[in-house]
Structure formats: C-alpha cells, structure tokens
Amino acid sequence: MVAFNILVFVAIGYVVLLFGIAAFADQRARRGASKWLRSPLTYTLSLSVYCTAWTFYGAVGNAARSGLEYLTIYLGPTLVFLGWWWILRKLVRIGRAERITSIADLISSRYGKSTSLAALVTVLAVTGTTPYIALQLQSVTLSFAVFANASAETAAAQWQASDLNSTALYVAAGLAVFTILFGTRNLDANERHHGVVTAIAIEAVVKLVALIAVGLFVIWGVSGGLSDTLQMIEASPVANWSPDAGRWVGLTFLSATAVICLPRMFQVLVVENADERHLAIASWAFPLYLLAMSLFVVPIAVVGIALMPDGSNPDLFVLTIPLALDQEGLAVLAFLGGFSSATSMVIVASIALSTMVSNHIVIPLWLSMRSSGATVSGDVRSVVIMSRRVSIVAILGLGYLYYRVTGGSAALSSIGLVSFAGVAQVFPALMGALFWRGASRSGAMAGVVTGFVIWGYTLFIPAIGLLPVSVVEFGPFGLGFLRPQALFGITGMDPLVHSIFWSMMLNAGVFVLVSLLSFPGPLERLQGASFANVFERSSGASGWSGGQAESEDLLVMAQRLLGARDAQELFQTAAQLQGKAGYLPDPTPEFVDTVERKLAGSVGAATAHAMVSQINGQAAITVQDLLAVADESAQMLEYSSALEAKSTELEQTARQLRYANEKLTEISVQKDAFLSQVSHELRTPMTSIRSFSEFLMEGGMSGEDRTRYSRIIHDESVRLTRLLDDLLDLSVLESGQVVLNEQAGMLHDLLDQAEASAGMRDGSPLKILRTRSSEELPVFTDTDRLTQVFINLISNAQKYCDADQPQLHIKTRQRDQRIELDFIDNGTGIPTRQQSVIFEKFSRLTNTAAAGSAGLGLAISREIIQRLGGSISYLPGQGGAAFRIELPARVENAEFASDGQDALADQITAKSASA
C-alpha cells in the first residue's frame, strides 16, 4: 500500500512542479517569448478548468446513480462551443475591446459602469461558487482519506471526521497560498496570468491522462475487454435508466449557461484569451476534450458498481477501483488527476472571484472611504493587491466553511448543480448585454436580484439545510404557494429543475419588463451600442497581434499630440528598454502609464486618460472622466483667452513694427530722394561749369563772351560751395553733434546784424519794417545761429517776395516766458498745399538759379531753432509769406561762473543730442 505520507509528498511535489512550470511560463511571458503560451492548444486545455473534481470523480458517481444524466454536463458546453461559438466570439471580442476583467466587470460595463450591479454580480458569483469550491475541497479530502484508510493498519487508524476537516483546511490553505503566489504577484492591466494558465493546461493533460488510464485499465484490465464491458453495461442498472426529460433539458441548459457564466470559465475563456482565433480551434477541440473525459465514465461506474462493496461511495470509484486491485501507480495517477481537477478549478475560480471582489467591492468601498480619492496610483496598486490576497483567503475560507456546514456529505454532482444554477442567474443580463440594446441597468439589476433571491430560496438555502423543514413542507408562515420547492403550487417537479425554471423564468421576465419600462442612461446606451455592434467597430476576426496594433494606435495618437519626433523618440526608447528593436514597445502598464503622463502634459490628465483608455480599451469613459475633460476644457478656455490677449498684444506689436517698418521704408525712400536731390543739385551747376569751360578751352571767342562764360562758371562754383556748406551744416545739425555757443545778446542787435548781412547783397529793394522798442529783449542763446536763421528769412523775402514794393515786417514781442518773432512780407505768400513742405529739404518752390540756393535754408533754420529750444512755423492768413519763431526767454545769469555756463551748454548739447 502507498504510504499516506508518500502520497502527501507526491501531492506537494506535484504542486511544486506546477509552481515551477508557472514560474517558468511567467518568466517567458515577461521576456515576450510567449508564443507557445499563447497557442490555441494551451487555450483549449485551459478551458478544461470546466472539468473539475466533480467531472473527474462526480461524473462516475452521477453515472452510477443517475445513468447517462451526467452527459448533460458535457452536452451543454459542447452545444455552446459547436453551435453557439459566435456568442463566445462576441464575448471574447467585447472582453478584448472593453478590457473586461471579469463577468461582473462586463455586466457593469455594459450597464453604464454601474458599481452596484457589479457588486451584485460579484456577490452572486461568490455565493454561487462557494459550494463549488467546497466540492473541490471535499473531493481532495476524500481522495486523501481513501488512501489514508487504505493504508491504515487498524480500524482505529481510520480517518475520523476531524481528520477530514483538518485535511480540508490544509488543502484550502495550500491552495490559497498557491493562488496568492501566482494570481496576485503583480497587477497586469490585462488581468492575464500566463503562469497559471500554463499550469492549468498541464493539469488538464494530467487529469485526462489519468481518467483515460483508469478507463483503459477498467475495460481491459478488469472486465477483460471491450465486448465484456459492454455486456456488463447492458446488465447494469445504468442501462435501465430512463431519462427525465425535464432534468435532461434543464441540466443541459444549466451547463450551457454555466460554461459562459461561471467566473472561472469567463476568466479562461475571455480574460485569459490571447488571440480570438484560438476560439475557432477551441470550438471543436474543447468538445473533443470533453468527449475524451466522458468516454470512460460509464465503464468505470459499471465496473465500480459490480466490483466494489455495497455502500461504497461511487464518487470515488476512479480511485478506489485501482486501489482495490492493488494498482498503486494507477491509483496515484488517478489521485493526481483528481487533485489536478480540484486545484485548477479552485485556483482559477479564486483568481477570478478575488479580482471581482477587490475591483467591485473592496476598492469602491476603500475609495468612498477616502475623502481625497485615489490620486496616487502606487497607493492604489498596493491596496488592490492586498485586497485580492485577502479576497482569495476569504473565498477559500467560505468554501471551507460551506464544506463544514454541509458536512461534506452531499453528493458531488448535486453541489455542482447548485453552483451552476446560482451563476446562471447572470445569463439573462449577459445575453441582454450582448444582443439587446434596449436592456437597461435597472432591468439587469432587477432580473439578477430576482433570480438570485429565487435561487437562494428554492435551492441554495435548502441545500445547506438552513431552512426549517416546516418551511420546506408547508411554506413560510404556512403559505403553501411559497413552498421553496413548489412555488405557486406547482408540485411534482424535481427541486433543481423547479428552481431553474422559476429563477430563470422570473429573472428573464423581470429583466425584460423593467428594461422596457426604464430608460437607459446615456452611457448605457453608448455601451449598449458598442457591445451590440462590437464586430462593426473592431477590425474583423484578425485577432490580436500581441499588442502591436495597440502600440501603433498609441503612437499615432502620441504623434498627433507630442509631435512626430518626440513621440517616436519616446516609443523607441521604451522599445529599447524592453529589448525590442523599432518603435513599437509592448503596451505594458508601465509604458501605457508613461504615454498617458506624457500626453497629460499636453492635453491634461483627464483627457489623456480618456484617450489612452479609448485605445487600450481599459474602460469606457465615465461621467467623471467627462466632467474632468470639461474642467480641463474650461481651463484651456482660460488659457486660450490669455493667449488671445497675448495674441492681441502681439498683433499690436506687429502693427507697431509694421508702422516702424513703414517709417523706415519711408525714411529710406526719403534718403534716396535726398541723395537724388543732392545729385541733382551738384550735377546741375557741374553741367554748366563743364559745358562753359569746354567752350573756353576751345578758344576763339570774343572777350565779352569769355567774360560772360567765366562769370557763369564762377557763379555756379559759388553755388556749389554754398550747397556743400548747407549740406554739411544740415548734417551736423541733424546728427545732433552741433555744439551751441551760447552767449548773451540783445535781440535788436542780432536783427541789425542779420539785416546788414542780407542787405549787403547787391542793394536789395526789400524794405524791412521793425519796431525797435519791442526788440529791447535780452537773450541768452547761440546768437550766431539765431542770426543765421534771421538772415535766411530775410533773404527768402528778398528772393521770393513778388510785390512791387517788397516789404518785410518783423514783429517782436515777449509773451510769458517766450519770445515771438514774426517775419511777414507783402507778397502773394505760399500756397496752402505747399505750406506743409516748405521746411523739408530741397523744397524749393521756384527754380534753383533764380533762388540761388538749393532749398535747404528753411530746413536748416528749423533744425537750428529746435536746437535752441524753440520752434519755427509758417503763419498762414497773413497776406504774404509769414513765419513765426518762438524762443524761450532766457537771460544770462551773470553770477554764473564761466564753467557753470559751460555746464549749461553741455547740458543743452546733451539734450539736443538725445533729441
């Protein structure tokens, strides 16, 4: 006999082996070398998590008790995979598109991200799965007990109930540890567990091999061949079994819904799915696996009935037949098969449930208790991981508790059916989610609650024996129509079928009715449309190309927001860090985070989150997201108005620049015009000089002509010299480098001086009228420069006054702190349109020769008067040409030392230089 201790070692060794395989697979997956991890074979084998200890042990028991009814458990999934695989495909597609992490997540996601609905489904799933986990604990415990009892020397060594209980506890604890180690090592955005899935696939092989080995042994080793076995079957009570149509249909339906709704099935089918195309292969491969699993159930059951003593548990025939026939190796293999079935189910179920519990119950509670909200992601991660670990322990604890409460006595298959019926309550809401756009949150909620309650009342609570017998017999408070196993007076139904009938019927009915009566929210409608039309928006059945497409989408978006170069650099760096060439790193959560943070820099956190979420399909956009986006938009609006102000300012600056530019262009044009004028003024006398000097050079002309031509040459030379003088004078004045030689003087002296200078020119007919008394004004200024201005004005009158008896009236007066001098002649004056240009350079109004100057006189005068702190302007409406000079009335302060005067002069120079 196999020593019990050895069996324990084998079990532990097996677990360690699985652990190693899982660790290896995880490592490979992290390195990205996960091709075989993502093969359709692994996927199909992982689906075998459907076949639990119930299938491994319980099917035989079921066959022994109820004949072929056990087949319904295989029939349902087979029908779904072969006939309804398009439903599965839609489920997988939605799961992928919406980044669904569990069935509760899917339901809540579809129905407007409802937290309460998610919590409800979670509670339902936990409640429904707890008996199932208990079933696994029970089967493992029983299999241990079989070995222990078989190897026990004495009756006293036989296991007692306490031994079973402690074993169950150890098993539960061990499984919890294993699950925690592999299910919650890190948070994967995809909720994928490569290691666990690989281990599950290995276990799938082990259980299949074990069951087939026992089957082959039974047929050829025990009953002596196929034909003998068939004869035994004919003779056995199994052959006499007549199907109960209600149960048959009900159970088939139940197993069909279970394969979709069971949390662990959803986990491997949808969440762990790596490629949609795997489903196509699984759609025939998985039924094949089920067929192989079911092939030897009847022979084992029949042989067991015939071989084993009466009263032995048919659920354990797979183990006890080899043991009874001293096939220890086979027995150990069978044990490992059962052990695999149980552990794989518990591990996957607790991972799936812990995800649901932590995501939909613990975290929402934790978040609502924190006033500040979850802003620190690292914080949340550790909380999530911790809550999952605690959830796993709690789920296994519940399983253990259920095992203890039910006393481990119920038949394996009936426990399983209770579970199936429980999780099946999600089915109407799920189908509505996939296919009915009109389905509403309220409807789903009402339906699930109704189904849950009826299931609990009619099946679950009676099953754990919590309902008093009186209630079961006569209904609560004696209300017969409320008897849990005969609702509304319908009696004679199998309790299980009865429960399924009523719960599903009312569940679906309420769901449809409430959905029709309630109005779905905007987010629900959005999600409803995107669920129902998932194939229209995602790209065909090409499947998932290992994150490449997603990375590319991210890159496309990042380029748009960050600019092509920055985005490419970001992606390339990330790819290099992951050891990949090119620009497309795997969309690991860290990388997606990085991208999101980068984007947040340009579009704001909420928008970035919404955008990234859209691409990696993690979540639908919640109302909070939308509000945050709106907030950001408001902020951006503020920025934008600030920018607008800035832009107005810039526009103003631009306008000023444009103005300055125009000014400069104008100045440049003026400069060109000036140079052109200077050229003209220089070349005109030069032309005469050249021409006449050539005549003179030729010789042979009269003395009179020679004198005349020489005079022209002389005059033109003088004119040239004067022009050059004026130009130099003007350039000095304009450049501000003129040094004023200020001194005291009397105004009438200066005017006398000017009159004398101008009058000396060939006895001008111009008569100058002055009022000497008003000219007794002391001035302190550059008297030479001021006299120059007076001379200019007087000689202008001489040149241009066209009156028969030209007169120039010079009026002088002091007004406040200013001295005014008006120079008014009696000519026709200057036409109004030309008054504005007379102070410009070369603004000579008549021809040059007549004026004998280049037209710089008034320009020079204006410069001088401005340097002296005054102004000169044309005075219109005086009859003739009239100019007014205004000067500041300053007198010499005699007390000033000479250097004080110099300082003042310097000051004035400096002032004029800066002007």
Partner: protein
C-alpha cells in the same frame, strides 16, 4: 532751313550752354522752360529732336515723354532725356516710356552734339565710354 531742336529745360545756364552749342552746329534751338505746355510746344514746333530734362517745374519729364509716345504725331520723335539725378530706376523708367536716348548731366559738349545729330539722322549715336556706362553716383 536747318534742323530744329526743342530744348525743354529750366536751368538758365544749361539752356544757354546747349543753345550756344547746337546753334553753333547749325541747329535751330527752341526753348520751353517748364513742364506744363511742353507737349503742346512739341506739337506746335514739330522739332527734329527733343531734349527733355527730367526735373522740370510743374511737371516731370517722364510724364511729358509718356504723353509724347501716346500721340501718333510724336510717337516716333527722337527724344534725348537729360537728368542730373542719376538713378538707375530713372534710366529704366525712361527706357520703358520709349526714350530714344538717356544722358546724365554733366555731359561733354562734343557728346551732346553727336548724340543730337545721330538722333536726327535716325541712327544709333556713337557714344563715348563715359556715357555708355551711364555714370550714376548712387
């Protein structure tokens, strides 16, 4: 009767110089000394060559040239344009208006005579290097 020149110029000394020069060469020189009326003077006197200054009181030489080129009577008339401004764009402007010859002041007497003769004969005047290069200060 000898050939005639209409000199449109406002500088008395230059008028005197050119008149003396051309009359000595056998030309009849008529004078018009401002811008307005210049076109009318050309039509009226129907000279063989027009000498036209650019900077005239009242109207620019360019405007006068343009008007001359529009009228059928004067569109082929040889026009020698004189300028003291010496800007390239003046030369180009004159050319675009259809000037026959453009000279920059100061000019040599000999060159002036040869140019006027050549224009009257309807052939391209032989020019000195000085003028061909168009002495332009700016």
């Amino acid at each position: 009767m000898g050939r005639s020149v209409l000199l449109i110029e406002d500088e008395p000394n230059i008028i005197e110089a050119i008149s003396f020069l051309l009359e000595r060469d056998g030309w009849t020189v008529r004078i018009h000394s401002d811008g307005p009326g210049a076109v009318e003077a050309v039509t009226r006197t129907a000279p063989d060559v027009v000498i036209l200054d650019v900077m005239l009181p009242g109207r620019s030489g360019f405007d006068i040239l343009r008007d001359l080129r529009v009228s059928d009577q004067t569109k082929d008339l040889p026009v020698l344009m004189l300028t003291a401004r010496g800007q390239t764009k003046d030369r180009e402007l004159a050319r675009s208006y259809g000037v026959s010859k453009f000279m920059t002041k100061p000019f040599s007497n000999d060159e002036m005579v040869r140019t006027v003769r050549a224009l009257a004969d309807g052939c391209e005047p032989v020019l000195s290097d000085d003028d061909a290069q168009g002495t332009e200060p700016s």
